[in-house]
């Protein structure tokens, strides 16, 4: 049971990082990124490729974060020509394209087989203490990411992003370069997501194209809607709640003994229905965004 709780804690913290990233893009900036898994995946593959080529892992982490930030900038720029709805579909398409590249280009990262035996954090510690150390590490990084996101949301960066979400034409009329704002929000969001991806890869010691499926983007969306779009603390609550349900049912299946496919479908069905119910009855989530009535005199 303790092992299970540590496991949920670690995975929930990592998903919390990915969710804060999406929350900056979608919750604060109103950018509907349906390809979040791509940024997460670039961070993950950065570590995987570094491990596969025998490079130091920190190089992989930095490489993954830089690659994700550049991809974020490119996707943000696409907003110049695409209507918001089209842009959302384009993000989904680009994430699928990235998955197909990793799947087909064997030379890049071993194609469908993926890269295994990636060294984890705290390799010198063993047993339960190692999980405790990993949990402490990911929670610390989550706290740092949270503080950075809170700060960014309060300063000019966040104010302009919120203005872009609520009144894009007004933002443009006030002289803000909307494309530049989009590019900045996407770069920061992508870099944070890549950090989460890198952490997950070191924890499960494996990365393959199967981890870049749109289902993971869906889980991150479920987290931010359940937690409360626009509220970073709420999103952390959402990460814990959704992961308790998603991973807890996996734990419950040790007793129910359904076959793997049925159990996986039931889990997705459950999270999907919860997301639908929240969108219908509690769109603002468990911890709604608090907007100041006067948002003009500095933050």
């Amino acid at each position: 049971m303790l092992d299970f709780l540590l496991y949920v804690g670690i995975v929930a913290s990592i998903y919390g990082i990915a969710a804060i990233s999406l929350n900056l893009q979608a919750g604060v900036g109103g950018l509907l990124n349906f390809g979040q898994v791509a940024f997460f995946g670039l961070g993950a593959y950065g570590v995987g490729i570094a491990s596969h080529r025998g490079l130091p892992l920190w190089m992989g982490v930095v490489g993954g974060i830089v690659a994700a930030a550049l991809a974020g900038a490119a996707v943000g720029r696409l907003g110049r020509t695409l209507l918001a709805d089209y842009w959302a579909i384009a993000t989904l398409a680009l994430a699928e394209l990235l998955r197909l590249v990793f799947l087909n280009e064997e030379w890049l990262a071993r194609g469908a087989d993926g890269i295994g035996s990636i060294p984890g954090l705290w390799g010198a510690v063993s047993g339960t203490w190692r999980d405790v150390a990993i949990l402490a590490t990911v929670v610390s990084i989550l706290v740092v990411v949270y503080l950075v996101a809170e700060r960014l949301t309060k300063v000019q960066f966040g104010r302009v992003a919120r203005l872009m979400r609520e009144q894009p034409n007004l933002a443009a009329a006030l002289g803000y370069d909307i494309v530049k704002v989009k590019v900045r929000v996407m770069m920061v969001g992508a870099a944070i997501a890549a950090t989460g991806g890198a952490l997950l890869t070191t924890y499960i010691s494996f990365i393959g194209p199967g981890q870049l499926l749109p289902v993971d983007t869906f889980l991150v969306w479920a987290i931010i809607v359940v937690g409360g779009m626009g509220n970073h603390l709420g999103v952390i609550v959402g990460a814990v709640v959704v992961n308790l349900i998603y991973l807890g049912t996996r734990f419950a299946n040790d007793y129910a003994k359904l076959d793997a496919n049925t159990a996986a479908s039931l889990r997705l069905l459950l999270v999907g229905l919860i997301l639908m119910a929240f969108l219908m009855f509690r769109t603002n989530g468990l911890v709604p965004e608090r907007l100041r009535t006067v948002d003009a005199d500095g933050g």
């Binding site: 020509t81 394209l97 496919n261 479908s265 219908m280």
Partner: protein, 300 residues
């Protein structure tokens, strides 16, 4: 690969994409959000038809038609209970909702039908040769059914009072309501036709290959590429774009690109197929931001 075969295969692919894309563009033009779950109507349609169909051709035809009607009605129910409520908060929330619905629909199909693909109970046919290209009689039927369905809908849309009503609501719902048009009924009809066409497209696709849980999700990118390239809400644009993208897919996958990359032989890996349409779309939009058929796709 002969150029005639590329043309025939493109026509078949355009028929597969055309019906589903037409359905999406109908719904999009009246209910202004991008429904990610639309392609799952194709999966559900294919499996419903499989449940009802026997082995005779008439029984398959009736099952296919019944499935399209059932899925169309299901879409009306989904709109009234789910999307209508979400649409009150703009177009972002319904789009997230459609992502959730897509996951739920796929999970339900998988729970009731299992993960293994299944096929209609039909005998294998010998392909006939037309000008150096091979095509089976069934595939000719699929193209014909698609053409007749689309032509029928076009006549309804541009030549009848019902079609004029639908176009009026698409262009300006407030004005349409003010002139006494029943907007809610028009929206119900759009969902019925839109989802019904997707289901029919799914049935035809399953007849040509097989019904699998991924039937809809592999259609997602090409179908959206077709709809955006053709210009949202433009049925004619969607059809032309379906032909263009189908042709691009077949050209890129079937032609030996060896001479271009300086190799003796180079074929694009087949699993890139679902992304080709979208890459074509993005390249087109970079050159021509307003899309192929002029309607504004520009809103920074």
């Amino acid at each position: 690969m002969s150029i005639a075969q590329v043309l025939v295969d493109s026509l078949l692919r355009a028929a597969e994409l055309g019906l589903v894309a037409l359905g999406l563009t109908i719904v999009y033009s009246l209910v202004k959000f991008a429904n990610i779950a639309h392609v799952e109507f194709a999966t559900v349609g294919a499996f419903i038809a499989l449940v009802f169909a026997g082995s005779s051709t008439p029984s398959i035809a009736i099952a296919g038609a019944a499935s399209a009607v059932i899925v169309g009605l299901l879409a009306i129910v989904l709109h009234r209970t789910f999307f209508k409520r979400l649409l009150r908060s703009g177009s972002a929330i319904p789009m997230i909702g459609s992502l959730a619905l897509a996951i739920v629909m796929r999970a339900l199909v998988q729970l009731s039908m299992g993960t293994r693909p299944s096929s209609f109970d039909r005998p294998l046919e010998r392909a006939i040769e037309i000008g150096g290209a091979f095509i089976t009689p069934l595939q000719l039927w699929l193209i014909a059914i698609t053409l007749v369905t689309i032509a029928g809908f076009m006549i309804v849309l541009y030549r009848t009072k019902l079609g004029r009503t639908l176009r009026a609501v698409a262009a300006n719902p407030e004005l349409a309501a003010a002139s006494g048009i029943n907007v809610n009924l028009s929206i119900d009809l759009a969902w019925f036709f839109g989802a019904g066409f997707a289901a029919l497209g799914g049935v035809l696709l399953a007849l040509n290959t097989q019904a699998s849980i991924q039937l809809g999700s592999t259609l997602l990118l090409p179908v959206f590429a077709v709809v955006i390239l053709g210009g949202i809400g433009s049925p004619v644009g969607a059809l032309l774009a379906a032909i263009l993208i189908a042709f691009a897919e077949n050209m890129i996958l079937q032609v030996d690109w060896g001479s271009l990359v300086g190799d003796s032989s180079f074929y694009m890996p087949l699993s890139y197929d679902v992304a080709i349409g979208f890459v074509v779309l993005i390249l087109t939009l970079l050159i021509r931001p307003q899309g192929l058929f002029g309607t504004a796709a520009r809103d920074a």
